[in-house]
């Protein structure tokens, strides 16, 4: 068995753009020694059938994420602001009909 413990290649998160004009989506991760190989591995792993027209790779330890424990207090400022949605406002009947 190998006793080397330092040759596990770093982990990269992979994002891809499925089509022109579409936003990027998370695909999964790959291991690679550097960004160039991370891109190549991402292509071979997640885009063998033109699933993406563009790829991003980001070192996994550089991703900062919100935590599930804080999800309530973190997002609740948005809960009581119904006035941010168009349904909050009334429109004269005559205008509604002309839709």
């Amino acid at each position: 068995m190998s006793d080397q413990t330092n040759t596990e290649w770093p982990l990269w998160e992979v994002f891809y753009q499925p089509k022109d004009g579409k936003p990027f989506e998370h695909a999964g991760s790959v291991h690679a020694p550097d960004s160039e190989m991370a891109l190549q591995n991402a292509r071979d792993t997640y885009a063998r059938r033109n699933e993406g027209i563009s790829l991003w790779v980001v070192p996994s330890d550089q991703i900062v994420a919100s935590t599930p424990e804080d999800v309530g207090p973190f997002f609740d400022p948005a809960n009581d602001k119904a006035y941010r949605h168009p349904q909050f406002y009334s429109v004269p009947r005559a205008v509604k009909k002309r839709k």
């Binding site: 290649w9 991760s29 792993t45």
Partner: protein, 314 residues
Amino acid sequence: MDTQQQLDQFQERIDNGEKIEPKDWMPERYRKQLIRIMSQHAHSEIVGMLPEGNWITRAPSLKRKMVLLAKVQDEAGHGLYLYSATETLGIERRELVEGYIYGNAKYSSIFNYPTLTYADICVIGWLVDGAAIVNQTMLAKSSYGPYARANLRICKEESFHKKQGYEMLAKMMEGTEAQQKMAQDAVNRWWWPTLMMFGPNDSDSPNSAELIKWGVKSKTNDELRQHFVDRMVMEAEAINVELPDPDLTYNEETGHWEFGEIPWDEFWSVVKGDGPMNRERIKARQKAYESGEWVREAAMEYARKKKLRKEKAS
């Protein structure tokens, strides 16, 4: 320690059909069970390259060679999606891989059978990938988000695998007498091991109830197996190949095909390591892993030097 309140809340989320994501709270046993089944699934995809890879250099035509190469490459991809998903549970790739190469982590027993002729490649696509689709379609709805997403990706590719095998087998069944014999022989050898892929009968499957309760699975081994048999009987008929089970009978009442007793002794002996190819498969994986060590090291060193050079230049 997981408290009862945490467990109840978790169960409520599962029952509501919510997906569990990597940073969410989960019972320690849910995490452990997921690591076990997801990594087994990943190892199976990787080991699964060996029986098929065996025939790449001897494919009957350039077209079949390209198809087989693409399929085997997909299997590597499937293994990588699954390792990537398993790593979200806080375990390292190295530990997973060494767990089956040097430890006793399992992979699907089906890959411990040899591929004796090219007809085996047809039958693996038709039966083995056909069975895998049944299983993975269910797993694409699994409660653990990363596992569900990996399976969804796999399912999209797996139907190509099954169709190319079925098409080739149909071609062989339309061929010369020798070709038909070769095709039938392969079906005879692979039918029962394929049925074993769904795992032991429900009465002998201690993990099933828990996995279903937690929404990792939604159907039992026997339900999946029945679904598969019903479909395969129809597909076998369509290409005039026989399924090697004299007990296959249609039950008008249930609408299902009843089948004979699965040779479970064989199943357990292969699981325990005594299948025809167990030792060879592990040896091949060890060799690949160990011979690749210097490449992994060299690539790391190259990346380090490149970075240093770049830093110096700026």
